[in-house]
Protein backbone atom coordinates (compact mmCIF):
# COMPACT_ATOMS: atom_id res chain seq x y z
CA UNK A 1 0.00 0.00 0.00
CA UNK A 2 1.27 3.46 -0.85
CA UNK A 3 1.75 5.44 2.31
CA UNK A 4 0.84 9.09 2.46
CA UNK A 5 1.09 11.58 5.23
CA UNK A 6 -2.01 12.80 6.96
CA UNK A 7 -1.49 16.41 5.73
CA UNK A 8 -1.09 15.39 2.08
CA UNK A 9 -4.11 13.22 2.24
CA UNK A 10 -6.29 15.89 3.81
CA UNK A 11 -5.10 18.41 1.23
CA UNK A 12 -5.76 16.06 -1.66
CA UNK A 13 -9.20 15.29 -0.40
CA UNK A 14 -9.97 18.97 0.08
CA UNK A 15 -8.89 19.77 -3.42
CA UNK A 16 -10.88 16.88 -4.80
CA UNK A 17 -13.95 17.94 -2.88
CA UNK A 18 -13.65 21.55 -4.04
CA UNK A 19 -13.24 20.46 -7.65
CA UNK A 20 -16.31 18.28 -7.51
CA UNK A 21 -18.36 21.05 -5.92
CA UNK A 22 -17.15 23.56 -8.50
CA UNK A 23 -18.04 21.17 -11.28
CA UNK A 24 -21.47 20.65 -9.76
CA UNK A 25 -22.04 24.38 -9.36
CA UNK A 26 -20.71 25.21 -12.85
CA UNK A 27 -24.22 25.49 -14.40
CA UNK A 28 -25.19 27.92 -11.68
CA UNK A 29 -22.17 30.11 -12.49
CA UNK A 30 -22.98 29.85 -16.18
CA UNK A 31 -26.57 30.91 -15.59
CA UNK A 32 -25.49 33.74 -13.27
CA UNK A 33 -22.96 35.11 -15.73
CA UNK A 34 -25.44 34.90 -18.52
CA UNK A 35 -28.23 36.40 -16.48
CA UNK A 36 -26.34 39.46 -15.27
CA UNK A 37 -23.53 40.79 -17.38
CA UNK A 38 -23.38 38.50 -20.36
CA UNK A 39 -26.96 39.22 -21.26
CA UNK A 40 -26.58 43.02 -20.91
CA UNK A 41 -23.30 43.01 -22.81
CA UNK A 42 -24.87 40.97 -25.59
CA UNK A 43 -27.70 43.50 -25.70
CA UNK A 44 -25.27 46.45 -25.89
CA UNK A 45 -23.23 44.79 -28.64
CA UNK A 46 -26.40 43.98 -30.60
CA UNK A 47 -27.54 47.61 -30.39
CA UNK A 48 -24.13 48.89 -31.49
CA UNK A 49 -24.04 46.48 -34.47
CA UNK A 50 -27.54 47.54 -35.59
CA UNK A 51 -26.77 51.24 -35.04
CA UNK A 52 -29.74 51.81 -32.80
CA UNK A 53 -29.30 53.83 -29.60
CA UNK A 54 -28.13 52.01 -26.51
CA UNK A 55 -30.87 50.76 -24.20
CA UNK A 56 -31.31 52.29 -20.85
CA UNK A 57 -29.18 50.02 -18.74
CA UNK A 58 -27.43 50.62 -15.47
CA UNK A 59 -24.36 48.59 -16.33
CA UNK A 60 -22.46 49.62 -13.29
CA UNK A 61 -25.07 48.37 -10.87
CA UNK A 62 -25.54 45.13 -12.77
CA UNK A 63 -21.81 44.40 -12.81
CA UNK A 64 -21.38 45.16 -9.11
CA UNK A 65 -24.37 42.99 -8.29
CA UNK A 66 -23.12 40.19 -10.51
CA UNK A 67 -19.60 40.30 -9.08
CA UNK A 68 -20.96 40.33 -5.53
CA UNK A 69 -23.22 37.33 -6.19
CA UNK A 70 -20.36 35.50 -7.82
CA UNK A 71 -18.11 36.30 -4.94
CA UNK A 72 -20.67 35.01 -2.44
CA UNK A 73 -21.19 31.89 -4.56
CA UNK A 74 -17.49 31.10 -4.75
CA UNK A 75 -17.11 31.73 -1.09
CA UNK A 76 -20.04 29.41 -0.31
CA UNK A 77 -18.66 26.65 -2.51
CA UNK A 78 -15.25 26.83 -0.86
CA UNK A 79 -16.80 26.93 2.60
CA UNK A 80 -19.10 24.09 1.81
CA UNK A 81 -16.27 21.99 0.50
CA UNK A 82 -14.20 22.83 3.57
CA UNK A 83 -17.12 21.87 5.79
CA UNK A 84 -17.75 18.63 3.95
CA UNK A 85 -14.07 17.70 4.04
CA UNK A 86 -13.75 18.46 7.72
CA UNK A 87 -17.01 16.99 8.75
CA UNK A 88 -17.35 13.79 6.77
CA UNK A 89 -14.22 13.02 4.85
CA UNK A 90 -11.83 13.82 7.65
CA UNK A 91 -13.92 11.80 10.00
CA UNK A 92 -13.35 8.82 7.75
CA UNK A 93 -9.71 9.76 7.47
CA UNK A 94 -9.30 9.80 11.23
CA UNK A 95 -11.20 6.57 11.79
CA UNK A 96 -8.06 4.39 12.17
CA UNK A 97 -6.90 6.78 14.89
CA UNK A 98 -10.22 6.46 16.63
CA UNK A 99 -10.08 2.65 16.48
CA UNK A 100 -6.57 2.64 17.84
CA UNK A 101 -7.58 4.92 20.66
CA UNK A 102 -10.52 2.69 21.59
CA UNK A 103 -8.24 -0.33 21.62
CA UNK A 104 -5.77 1.44 23.90
CA UNK A 105 -8.58 2.48 26.21
CA UNK A 106 -9.81 -1.08 26.53
CA UNK A 107 -6.40 -2.62 26.96
CA UNK A 108 -5.84 -4.22 30.35
CA UNK A 109 -2.35 -5.47 31.10
CA UNK A 110 -3.59 -8.19 33.36
CA UNK A 111 -6.39 -9.72 31.38
CA UNK A 112 -6.47 -8.80 27.72
CA UNK A 113 -4.35 -9.89 24.82
CA UNK A 114 -2.36 -7.40 22.76
CA UNK A 115 -4.92 -6.21 20.16
CA UNK A 116 -4.38 -6.48 16.43
CA UNK A 117 -4.39 -3.05 14.84
CA UNK A 118 -5.93 -2.90 11.38
CA UNK A 119 -3.63 -1.65 8.63
CA UNK A 120 -3.95 1.89 7.37
CA UNK A 121 -2.40 3.81 4.47
CA UNK A 122 -1.75 6.93 6.52
CA UNK A 123 1.85 7.18 7.54
CA UNK A 124 1.36 8.73 10.97
CA UNK A 125 -1.35 6.29 11.99
CA UNK A 126 0.62 3.33 10.73
CA UNK A 127 3.54 4.50 12.84
CA UNK A 128 1.28 5.00 15.83
CA UNK A 129 -0.15 1.51 15.45
CA UNK A 130 3.23 -0.12 15.18
CA UNK A 131 4.60 1.82 18.13
CA UNK A 132 1.53 1.11 20.28
CA UNK A 133 1.53 -2.56 19.43
CA UNK A 134 5.21 -2.84 20.25
CA UNK A 135 4.76 -1.00 23.51
CA UNK A 136 1.86 -3.22 24.50
CA UNK A 137 3.69 -6.41 23.56
CA UNK A 138 6.72 -5.33 25.54
CA UNK A 139 4.59 -4.44 28.56
CA UNK A 140 2.70 -7.66 28.35
CA UNK A 141 5.94 -9.61 27.98
CA UNK A 142 7.56 -8.02 30.99
CA UNK A 143 4.37 -8.49 32.95
CA UNK A 144 4.35 -12.20 32.13
CA UNK A 145 8.06 -12.51 32.85
CA UNK A 146 7.57 -10.81 36.19
CA UNK A 147 4.64 -13.04 37.04
CA UNK A 148 6.47 -16.17 36.04
CA UNK A 149 9.59 -15.04 37.83
CA UNK A 150 7.95 -15.27 41.24
CA UNK A 151 6.66 -18.71 40.48
CA UNK A 152 9.92 -19.97 39.02
CA UNK A 153 11.94 -18.46 41.84
CA UNK A 154 9.73 -20.15 44.40
CA UNK A 155 10.01 -23.48 42.63
CA UNK A 156 13.77 -23.18 42.39
CA UNK A 157 13.97 -22.34 46.08
CA UNK A 158 12.07 -25.45 47.17
CA UNK A 159 15.03 -27.75 46.55
CA UNK A 160 17.68 -25.74 48.45
CA UNK A 161 15.23 -25.37 51.33
CA UNK A 162 14.65 -29.12 51.22
CA UNK A 163 18.44 -29.67 51.34
CA UNK A 164 18.80 -27.26 54.25
CA UNK A 165 16.04 -28.94 56.19
CA UNK A 166 17.33 -32.44 55.50
CA UNK A 167 20.80 -31.50 56.73
CA UNK A 168 19.23 -30.22 59.94
CA UNK A 169 17.40 -33.53 60.32
CA UNK A 170 20.77 -35.27 59.98
CA UNK A 171 22.52 -32.89 62.35
CA UNK A 172 19.87 -33.61 64.96
CA UNK A 173 20.99 -37.25 65.02
CA UNK A 174 24.46 -36.30 66.28
CA UNK A 175 25.41 -35.98 69.91
CA UNK A 176 24.89 -32.28 70.39
CA UNK A 177 25.73 -30.09 73.32
CA UNK A 178 23.00 -27.91 74.69
CA UNK A 179 24.44 -24.83 73.03
CA UNK A 180 24.67 -26.55 69.67
CA UNK A 181 21.14 -27.82 70.09
CA UNK A 182 19.95 -24.29 70.68
CA UNK A 183 21.52 -23.17 67.40
CA UNK A 184 20.00 -26.09 65.54
CA UNK A 185 16.65 -25.21 67.03
CA UNK A 186 16.93 -21.65 65.77
CA UNK A 187 17.90 -22.93 62.35
CA UNK A 188 14.79 -25.11 62.35
CA UNK A 189 12.71 -22.03 63.02
CA UNK A 190 14.39 -20.23 60.11
CA UNK A 191 13.86 -23.22 57.88
CA UNK A 192 10.14 -23.30 58.71
CA UNK A 193 9.81 -19.60 58.06
CA UNK A 194 11.59 -19.89 54.73
CA UNK A 195 9.48 -22.78 53.71
CA UNK A 196 6.28 -20.98 54.74
CA UNK A 197 7.28 -17.81 52.92
CA UNK A 198 8.05 -19.75 49.81
CA UNK A 199 4.78 -21.67 49.90
CA UNK A 200 2.87 -18.41 50.34
CA UNK A 201 4.65 -16.74 47.44
CA UNK A 202 3.97 -19.75 45.28
CA UNK A 203 0.29 -19.73 46.19
CA UNK A 204 0.02 -16.01 45.41
CA UNK A 205 1.77 -16.52 42.09
CA UNK A 206 -0.59 -19.36 41.28
CA UNK A 207 -3.63 -17.22 42.03
CA UNK A 208 -2.15 -14.34 40.00
CA UNK A 209 -1.32 -16.64 37.11
CA UNK A 210 -4.74 -18.25 37.31
CA UNK A 211 -3.25 -21.71 37.49
CA UNK A 212 -5.71 -23.27 39.82
CA UNK A 213 -8.00 -26.15 39.20
CA UNK A 214 -11.71 -26.01 38.85
CA UNK A 215 -14.25 -24.89 41.41
CA UNK A 216 -16.58 -27.18 43.25
CA UNK A 217 -19.80 -26.58 45.11
CA UNK A 218 -19.34 -26.98 48.84
CA UNK A 219 -21.39 -26.52 51.96
CA UNK A 220 -19.57 -23.63 53.61
CA UNK A 221 -20.36 -24.62 57.17
CA UNK A 222 -19.20 -28.16 56.56
CA UNK A 223 -15.98 -26.99 54.87
CA UNK A 224 -15.21 -24.54 57.66
CA UNK A 225 -16.01 -27.13 60.30
CA UNK A 226 -13.58 -29.57 58.75
CA UNK A 227 -10.78 -27.01 59.01
CA UNK A 228 -11.71 -26.08 62.55
CA UNK A 229 -11.84 -29.69 63.73
CA UNK A 230 -8.13 -30.29 63.25
CA UNK A 231 -7.45 -26.96 64.79
CA UNK A 232 -9.54 -27.65 67.89
CA UNK A 233 -7.84 -30.97 68.39
CA UNK A 234 -4.33 -29.59 68.22
CA UNK A 235 -4.45 -26.15 69.65
CA UNK A 236 -5.92 -25.22 73.00
CA UNK A 237 -4.72 -21.69 73.67
CA UNK A 238 -7.64 -20.07 71.86
CA UNK A 239 -11.18 -21.23 71.36
CA UNK A 240 -12.67 -21.16 67.90
CA UNK A 241 -16.42 -21.18 67.60
CA UNK A 242 -18.59 -21.43 64.52
CA UNK A 243 -21.99 -19.77 64.73
CA UNK A 244 -24.54 -20.26 62.02
CA UNK A 245 -27.24 -17.61 61.83
CA UNK A 246 -29.16 -19.13 59.02
CA UNK A 247 -31.31 -22.24 58.91
CA UNK A 248 -30.40 -22.85 55.28
CA UNK A 249 -27.03 -24.36 54.46
CA UNK A 250 -24.83 -21.94 52.55
CA UNK A 251 -23.51 -23.41 49.32
CA UNK A 252 -20.54 -21.81 47.60
CA UNK A 253 -18.67 -22.45 44.38
CA UNK A 254 -15.08 -22.50 45.51
CA UNK A 255 -11.67 -23.79 44.76
CA UNK A 256 -11.34 -26.09 47.76
CA UNK A 257 -7.60 -25.63 48.14
CA UNK A 258 -8.04 -21.86 48.26
CA UNK A 259 -11.03 -21.96 50.57
CA UNK A 260 -9.10 -24.02 53.14
CA UNK A 261 -6.23 -21.58 52.85
CA UNK A 262 -8.62 -18.66 53.34
CA UNK A 263 -10.07 -20.11 56.54
CA UNK A 264 -6.66 -21.07 57.92
CA UNK A 265 -5.16 -17.68 57.20
CA UNK A 266 -8.08 -15.86 58.80
CA UNK A 267 -7.91 -17.98 61.94
CA UNK A 268 -4.15 -17.68 62.23
CA UNK A 269 -4.44 -13.93 61.76
CA UNK A 270 -7.09 -13.80 64.48
CA UNK A 271 -4.85 -15.74 66.84
CA UNK A 272 -1.92 -13.45 66.16
CA UNK A 273 -3.96 -10.40 66.97
CA UNK A 274 -5.68 -11.55 70.14
CA UNK A 275 -4.55 -12.35 73.65
CA UNK A 276 -4.17 -15.99 74.72
CA UNK A 277 -7.34 -17.65 75.87
CA UNK A 278 -9.69 -15.49 73.84
CA UNK A 279 -12.54 -16.70 71.71
CA UNK A 280 -12.46 -16.45 67.95
CA UNK A 281 -15.90 -16.41 66.37
CA UNK A 282 -16.79 -17.42 62.86
CA UNK A 283 -20.29 -16.33 62.02
CA UNK A 284 -22.05 -17.53 58.92
CA UNK A 285 -25.05 -15.77 57.51
CA UNK A 286 -27.15 -16.32 54.39
CA UNK A 287 -24.71 -14.45 52.29
CA UNK A 288 -21.68 -13.54 54.31
CA UNK A 289 -19.14 -14.76 56.78
CA UNK A 290 -17.41 -12.84 59.57
CA UNK A 291 -14.34 -13.83 61.49
CA UNK A 292 -13.82 -11.81 64.63
CA UNK A 293 -11.54 -11.81 67.63
CA UNK A 294 -10.91 -9.57 70.65
CA UNK A 295 -8.14 -7.11 69.92
CA UNK A 296 -4.91 -7.16 71.81
CA UNK A 297 -3.89 -3.91 70.18
CA UNK A 298 -5.56 -1.01 68.48
CA UNK A 299 -7.46 -0.73 65.22
CA UNK A 300 -5.56 -2.03 62.21
CA UNK A 301 -4.76 0.19 59.27
CA UNK A 302 -7.35 -0.62 56.62
CA UNK A 303 -5.34 0.77 53.76
CA UNK A 304 -2.21 -1.31 54.17
CA UNK A 305 -3.93 -4.28 55.78
CA UNK A 306 -4.21 -6.42 52.67
CA UNK A 307 -0.95 -5.37 51.06
CA UNK A 308 1.77 -7.89 50.51
CA UNK A 309 4.53 -7.93 53.11
CA UNK A 310 2.53 -5.63 55.29
CA UNK A 311 3.73 -6.07 58.86
CA UNK A 312 1.91 -3.21 60.51
CA UNK A 313 -1.12 -5.33 61.35
CA UNK A 314 0.66 -7.76 63.56
CA UNK A 315 0.91 -8.36 67.25
CA UNK A 316 4.19 -7.69 68.97
CA UNK A 317 5.50 -11.16 69.55
CA UNK A 318 3.75 -13.33 67.01
CA UNK A 319 4.95 -12.01 63.71
CA UNK A 320 3.93 -13.64 60.52
CA UNK A 321 5.49 -13.08 57.14
CA UNK A 322 3.03 -10.37 56.14
CA UNK A 323 1.45 -12.43 53.39
CA UNK A 324 -1.47 -14.03 55.24
CA UNK A 325 -4.02 -11.28 54.68
CA UNK A 326 -2.71 -10.60 51.17
CA UNK A 327 -3.53 -14.23 50.42
CA UNK A 328 -6.96 -13.81 51.99
CA UNK A 329 -7.59 -10.80 49.75
CA UNK A 330 -6.30 -12.56 46.64
CA UNK A 331 -8.55 -15.55 47.33
CA UNK A 332 -11.58 -13.27 47.79
CA UNK A 333 -10.76 -11.45 44.55
CA UNK A 334 -10.35 -14.77 42.79
CA UNK A 335 -13.88 -15.77 43.77
CA UNK A 336 -15.29 -12.24 43.25
CA UNK A 337 -16.06 -11.87 46.93
CA UNK A 338 -15.84 -8.63 48.84
CA UNK A 339 -13.84 -8.46 52.03
CA UNK A 340 -13.84 -5.63 54.52
CA UNK A 341 -12.28 -4.96 57.87
CA UNK A 342 -13.98 -3.25 60.78
CA UNK A 343 -13.11 -2.49 64.35
CA UNK A 344 -16.25 -3.03 66.43
CA UNK A 345 -16.53 -3.11 70.23
CA UNK A 346 -12.80 -3.61 70.58
CA UNK A 347 -12.87 -6.58 68.20
CA UNK A 348 -11.20 -7.05 64.85
CA UNK A 349 -13.89 -8.08 62.38
CA UNK A 350 -13.26 -9.43 58.90
CA UNK A 351 -16.42 -9.69 56.83
CA UNK A 352 -16.62 -11.53 53.52
CA UNK A 353 -19.63 -10.97 51.29
CA UNK A 354 -20.14 -13.85 48.95
CA UNK A 355 -22.18 -12.05 46.31
Amino acid sequence: MRMRSLLNKTLAQYIGCTAILLLLTAPLFYWLTKQYYAEDLADVMEHIRLGIPLPDLDLEEDIVKGVMIQFVMIFSVLSLSLLVTMRFITKKLWKPFDTTLTKIEHFNLEHSKVPNFSSTDIKEFARLNIATQELMSRDKQSYIVQKEFTENASHELQTPIAVFQSKLDLLLQEELTEKQAEIVNELYAVSSRLSRLNKDLLLLAKIDNDQLGEQTRVNAIYAIGKNIALYKELYHKHRVEVISQSSNPLYLNVNVLLFDSLINNLIVNAIRNSPDGSKIEIEIDDNEMTVSNPASGKKLDEKSLFQRFNTSSQGDNKRGNGLGLAIVKAICDYHNWKIEYQFEHNRHVFRIKFS
Binding site: Q158, T159, A162, D169, L170, L172, E182, K206, L234, G320
Partner: protein, 225 residues
Protein backbone atom coordinates in the same frame (compact mmCIF):
# COMPACT_ATOMS: atom_id res chain seq x y z
CA UNK B 1 15.30 -54.04 51.44
CA UNK B 2 16.46 -52.32 48.27
CA UNK B 3 15.69 -48.71 47.61
CA UNK B 4 16.50 -46.38 44.72
CA UNK B 5 16.70 -42.64 45.19
CA UNK B 6 16.18 -40.76 41.91
CA UNK B 7 17.00 -37.15 42.72
CA UNK B 8 19.19 -34.77 40.77
CA UNK B 9 20.10 -32.62 43.75
CA UNK B 10 23.07 -34.55 45.10
CA UNK B 11 23.07 -32.94 48.53
CA UNK B 12 19.44 -33.92 49.10
CA UNK B 13 20.02 -37.41 47.77
CA UNK B 14 22.96 -37.88 50.15
CA UNK B 15 20.85 -36.70 53.10
CA UNK B 16 18.14 -39.20 52.28
CA UNK B 17 20.59 -42.04 51.85
CA UNK B 18 22.44 -41.22 55.05
CA UNK B 19 19.25 -40.99 57.04
CA UNK B 20 17.80 -44.21 55.66
CA UNK B 21 21.00 -46.26 55.55
CA UNK B 22 20.97 -46.53 59.29
CA UNK B 23 17.71 -48.37 58.93
CA UNK B 24 17.58 -51.72 57.22
CA UNK B 25 17.60 -50.19 53.73
CA UNK B 26 20.11 -50.75 50.99
CA UNK B 27 20.10 -47.48 49.09
CA UNK B 28 21.20 -46.78 45.56
CA UNK B 29 21.21 -43.41 43.85
CA UNK B 30 20.48 -42.10 40.38
CA UNK B 31 21.14 -38.45 39.60
CA UNK B 32 20.06 -38.16 35.98
CA UNK B 33 17.14 -39.22 33.84
CA UNK B 34 19.20 -41.69 31.80
CA UNK B 35 20.87 -43.15 34.85
CA UNK B 36 17.44 -43.60 36.42
CA UNK B 37 15.99 -45.25 33.30
CA UNK B 38 18.90 -47.68 33.12
CA UNK B 39 18.75 -48.68 36.77
CA UNK B 40 15.00 -49.03 36.74
CA UNK B 41 15.14 -51.39 33.78
CA UNK B 42 18.12 -53.45 34.97
CA UNK B 43 17.54 -53.97 38.67
CA UNK B 44 14.74 -54.77 41.03
CA UNK B 45 13.87 -52.46 43.89
CA UNK B 46 11.33 -52.67 46.67
CA UNK B 47 10.80 -48.96 46.71
CA UNK B 48 11.77 -46.03 44.49
CA UNK B 49 11.86 -42.39 45.55
CA UNK B 50 11.32 -40.36 42.42
CA UNK B 51 11.88 -36.67 41.82
CA UNK B 52 9.67 -35.86 38.85
CA UNK B 53 11.64 -32.75 37.87
CA UNK B 54 14.79 -34.22 36.38
CA UNK B 55 17.20 -32.59 33.97
CA UNK B 56 17.15 -34.18 30.49
CA UNK B 57 13.79 -35.80 30.92
CA UNK B 58 10.44 -36.05 32.59
CA UNK B 59 10.29 -38.03 35.82
CA UNK B 60 6.77 -39.09 34.97
CA UNK B 61 8.19 -41.07 32.02
CA UNK B 62 10.37 -42.97 34.47
CA UNK B 63 7.26 -43.68 36.51
CA UNK B 64 5.48 -45.01 33.43
CA UNK B 65 8.37 -47.37 32.72
CA UNK B 66 8.48 -48.59 36.32
CA UNK B 67 4.76 -49.28 36.33
CA UNK B 68 4.99 -51.12 33.03
CA UNK B 69 8.03 -53.26 33.66
CA UNK B 70 8.18 -53.62 37.45
CA UNK B 71 4.63 -53.09 38.67
CA UNK B 72 5.37 -54.60 42.09
CA UNK B 73 7.78 -51.75 42.94
CA UNK B 74 6.49 -49.11 45.31
CA UNK B 75 6.99 -45.51 44.16
CA UNK B 76 6.98 -42.34 46.22
CA UNK B 77 7.17 -39.10 44.26
CA UNK B 78 9.19 -36.30 45.81
CA UNK B 79 8.65 -33.06 44.02
CA UNK B 80 9.16 -29.35 44.23
CA UNK B 81 5.86 -28.95 42.45
CA UNK B 82 3.31 -28.70 45.17
CA UNK B 83 0.46 -28.47 42.77
CA UNK B 84 -2.59 -30.63 43.02
CA UNK B 85 -2.51 -31.43 39.31
CA UNK B 86 0.97 -32.93 39.26
CA UNK B 87 0.07 -34.88 42.38
CA UNK B 88 -3.07 -36.26 40.81
CA UNK B 89 -1.25 -37.07 37.59
CA UNK B 90 1.51 -38.88 39.46
CA UNK B 91 -0.94 -40.92 41.46
CA UNK B 92 -2.93 -41.67 38.33
CA UNK B 93 0.08 -43.15 36.57
CA UNK B 94 0.59 -45.34 39.58
CA UNK B 95 2.71 -43.65 42.21
CA UNK B 96 1.86 -44.86 45.70
CA UNK B 97 2.53 -41.66 47.55
CA UNK B 98 3.46 -38.05 46.98
CA UNK B 99 5.67 -35.88 49.15
CA UNK B 100 6.21 -32.20 48.38
CA UNK B 101 9.58 -30.57 48.95
CA UNK B 102 10.70 -29.49 51.44
CA UNK B 103 9.93 -32.46 53.66
CA UNK B 104 11.37 -33.78 56.91
CA UNK B 105 13.40 -36.96 56.65
CA UNK B 106 11.46 -38.71 59.47
CA UNK B 107 8.28 -38.00 57.47
CA UNK B 108 9.82 -39.64 54.41
CA UNK B 109 10.86 -42.56 56.56
CA UNK B 110 7.36 -43.28 57.84
CA UNK B 111 5.91 -42.91 54.35
CA UNK B 112 8.30 -45.64 53.18
CA UNK B 113 7.30 -47.81 56.14
CA UNK B 114 3.64 -47.36 55.40
CA UNK B 115 4.16 -48.15 51.73
CA UNK B 116 6.13 -51.30 52.50
CA UNK B 117 3.44 -52.46 54.88
CA UNK B 118 0.78 -52.01 52.23
CA UNK B 119 2.89 -53.73 49.58
CA UNK B 120 3.93 -56.78 51.56
CA UNK B 121 0.39 -57.87 52.37
CA UNK B 122 1.74 -59.93 55.26
CA UNK B 123 0.05 -59.67 58.59
CA UNK B 124 2.05 -56.76 59.89
CA UNK B 125 -0.59 -54.44 61.12
CA UNK B 126 1.04 -54.70 64.51
CA UNK B 127 4.11 -52.80 65.56
CA UNK B 128 5.89 -54.00 68.66
CA UNK B 129 8.37 -51.80 70.40
CA UNK B 130 9.59 -52.62 73.87
CA UNK B 131 6.63 -52.87 76.18
CA UNK B 132 4.06 -51.49 73.82
CA UNK B 133 2.29 -52.83 70.79
CA UNK B 134 0.38 -50.78 68.27
CA UNK B 135 -2.55 -52.16 66.31
CA UNK B 136 -2.66 -50.08 63.15
CA UNK B 137 -6.06 -51.27 61.99
CA UNK B 138 -7.88 -50.79 65.27
CA UNK B 139 -5.75 -47.72 66.05
CA UNK B 140 -5.14 -49.16 69.48
CA UNK B 141 -2.08 -49.08 71.69
CA UNK B 142 -1.36 -51.60 74.41
CA UNK B 143 1.27 -51.22 77.09
CA UNK B 144 2.03 -54.37 79.09
CA UNK B 145 -1.19 -55.73 77.64
CA UNK B 146 -3.39 -52.84 78.85
CA UNK B 147 -5.14 -50.67 76.29
CA UNK B 148 -4.13 -47.01 76.50
CA UNK B 149 -6.78 -44.35 76.07
CA UNK B 150 -5.12 -42.02 73.56
CA UNK B 151 -6.54 -39.17 71.51
CA UNK B 152 -6.12 -39.28 67.75
CA UNK B 153 -3.28 -36.78 67.96
CA UNK B 154 -1.47 -38.73 70.64
CA UNK B 155 -1.83 -41.91 68.63
CA UNK B 156 -0.31 -40.22 65.59
CA UNK B 157 2.52 -38.82 67.67
CA UNK B 158 3.33 -42.17 69.20
CA UNK B 159 3.28 -43.93 65.86
CA UNK B 160 5.53 -41.30 64.32
CA UNK B 161 8.05 -41.61 67.14
CA UNK B 162 7.99 -45.41 67.24
CA UNK B 163 8.46 -45.74 63.51
CA UNK B 164 11.41 -43.36 63.74
CA UNK B 165 12.94 -45.13 66.72
CA UNK B 166 16.73 -44.71 67.03
CA UNK B 167 16.19 -41.28 65.48
CA UNK B 168 15.70 -37.88 67.00
CA UNK B 169 12.60 -36.29 65.55
CA UNK B 170 12.42 -32.50 65.50
CA UNK B 171 9.49 -30.60 66.90
CA UNK B 172 8.81 -29.04 63.52
CA UNK B 173 8.68 -32.46 61.84
CA UNK B 174 6.09 -33.52 64.40
CA UNK B 175 4.13 -30.29 64.05
CA UNK B 176 4.00 -30.64 60.30
CA UNK B 177 3.07 -34.29 60.48
CA UNK B 178 0.18 -33.53 62.81
CA UNK B 179 -1.26 -30.47 61.20
CA UNK B 180 0.08 -30.19 57.67
CA UNK B 181 -0.21 -26.65 56.49
CA UNK B 182 -1.58 -25.13 59.66
CA UNK B 183 1.56 -25.73 61.75
CA UNK B 184 3.99 -23.60 59.84
CA UNK B 185 1.45 -20.84 59.61
CA UNK B 186 1.50 -20.71 63.36
CA UNK B 187 5.29 -20.45 63.77
CA UNK B 188 4.58 -21.79 67.19
CA UNK B 189 5.09 -25.43 67.95
CA UNK B 190 4.16 -25.28 71.60
CA UNK B 191 1.12 -27.42 70.84
CA UNK B 192 3.49 -30.32 70.11
CA UNK B 193 4.92 -29.99 73.58
CA UNK B 194 1.44 -30.08 75.13
CA UNK B 195 0.47 -33.27 73.35
CA UNK B 196 3.82 -34.93 74.02
CA UNK B 197 3.41 -34.11 77.70
CA UNK B 198 -0.01 -35.74 77.78
CA UNK B 199 1.26 -38.76 75.89
CA UNK B 200 4.19 -39.16 78.26
CA UNK B 201 1.86 -38.98 81.25
CA UNK B 202 -0.39 -41.69 79.83
CA UNK B 203 2.58 -43.92 79.04
CA UNK B 204 3.98 -43.44 82.54
CA UNK B 205 0.65 -44.33 84.08
CA UNK B 206 0.76 -47.58 82.12
CA UNK B 207 4.23 -48.32 83.40
CA UNK B 208 6.30 -47.13 80.44
CA UNK B 209 8.51 -44.50 82.01
CA UNK B 210 10.98 -42.49 79.97
CA UNK B 211 10.02 -44.06 76.65
CA UNK B 212 10.11 -40.64 75.05
CA UNK B 213 13.32 -38.77 75.58
CA UNK B 214 13.29 -35.01 75.12
CA UNK B 215 16.41 -33.61 73.47
CA UNK B 216 16.89 -30.09 74.81
CA UNK B 217 13.30 -29.19 74.11
CA UNK B 218 13.77 -29.27 70.36
CA UNK B 219 13.38 -32.90 69.47
CA UNK B 220 12.10 -36.21 70.75
CA UNK B 221 13.35 -39.75 70.60
CA UNK B 222 11.62 -43.03 71.18
CA UNK B 223 13.63 -45.27 73.51
CA UNK B 224 12.87 -48.92 72.93
CA UNK B 225 12.90 -50.81 76.16
Amino acid sequence: MKLLVIEDEQALSQSIVRFLNEEEYLCEQAFTYHDAMMKVKLYDYDCILLDIMLPEGDGLDVLTVIKKEKPETGVIIISAKNSLESKIEGLKIGADDYLAKPFHLPELSIRIYALMRRRNFSNNNFIESGDISIDLLAKEVKAHGDVLDLTRTEFQLLLFLVENHKKVVSKSALAEHLSGDMADMMDDYSFVYTHIKNLKAKLSAAGCNDCIKTIYGMGYKWIEK
